[in-house]
Symmetry: C2
């Protein structure tokens, strides 16, 4: 699914779920958090799913050395804990932090199971949603499994960003985020992009990258 | 979950599901495949879950260059397609191949949704099963995200194999499979293990590895 379809899917899922919460008299709670508040610390037990009603949330990994690595940003109607909740070891692997003032709807495991059992349509959507998360994580594994930074970049260009079909251009929104995703220093990323430009495989234009030789990049990806 | 608990879980899940298939009069089919037969080719549409009743199945990635990389082995009562089935793009990303003569039970999406809707207990187990797969794949990402082969080995020692608590020993069943998992040549793996032994961090004893300095390995893993 592309981002737009996914957003629409989240919205629809939320409306149906919300409808069921109301007519089914299912227990749930809504809580507010100020910007920068930690909602769940790494290691705390996940006892409900959270649906973001307002604001933004970030999922962060706190390393041994004290630095914070961004794992994912969540926006309106995004869900968290939806898979973890059913794990035999349901402990948050990362910190969940309010990126802005936000409002979150919580549904406990029992309530959720009741809703899913009573509504095959919502159940199917829930399983679809999980499949989509799984697909994303599989893509991440393939990205991380590529041998070199150049191979990783090729995979990223072809599978992560929206590639304009007419001129083979794409936009890298944040080079810092991209360096984090690829697991390299910003400097190494810049150097490799420059190398690729010097060798004539792409053209850099501020945030825009134009792939001059699509076949080359496709040949790098297994 | 460790392997034993997981095996028991699979068995219980299968019995309950099988019971429902019988009393609920739910459509399903059982097919037999001879050794080496391709059950599903990469790119074919996933329309049902498969539960392995007899024999073994392997999931393989066929690379551009024609080599085959083992992704996973499946044994009795293991399930495949359980997440993919609900994906918006439900196409097998890998080949599913009979490793021995085998017998597989197939349940279609509609039948499965009916069973899950009618049995909250089976639904919860199904979601648990998915959570466990997700946990495994997350571990794989963390393994692949470690910076160097040495860091990857440290993560592997501490999170993948059963570490004997008394003498800090573990068994590497197959060095070829481990090299594949880590994404390196067998030679590089041997060299790094030897280096670690020469530096006094571990002791090699055929298939057994004894970690002499657990703190060192723990310090490598983020």
């Amino acid at each position: 699914m592309n981002n737009l379809v996914y957003k629409k899917f989240h919205l629809e899922f939320f409306y149906e779920l919300n409808h069921m919460l109301k007519i089914g008299n299912v227990k749930h709670s809504i809580r507010k958090y100020p910007k920068d508040q930690i909602i769940f610390l790494t290691g705390s037990r996940c006892q409900s799913i959270g649906i973001l009603l307002k604001g933004e949330v970030k999922i962060e990994h706190l390393t041994e050395t004290g630095s914070r690595i961004l794992i994912r940003n969540l926006k309106q109607y995004n869900i968290f804990g939806e898979i973890l909740l059913f794990s035999p070891e349901p402990y948050y692997p990362y910190d969940i932090v309010a990126k802005s003032n936000c409002e979150i709807l919580f549904i406990s495991k029992d309530s959720l199971l009741r809703i899913l059992s009573e509504n095959p349509n919502i159940l199917e959507k829930y399983l679809q949603h999980i499949a989509e998360s799984y697909h994303q994580i599989n893509k991440l594994i393939k990205l991380k499994s590529q041998k070199t930074l150049r191979h990783k970049l090729a995979y990223y260009f072809l599978n992560y960003e929206h590639l304009n079909k007419e001129n083979h251009s794409l936009i890298i929104k944040s080079k810092t985020e991209l360096a984090n995703l690829l697991g390299v220093e910003r400097q190494s990323l810049f150097r490799e992009l420059k190398n690729l430009e010097n060798e004539g495989y792409l053209e850099l234009n501020k945030k825009e990258v134009i792939l001059k030789n699509l076949t080359y990049f496709a040949s790098l990806v297994d």
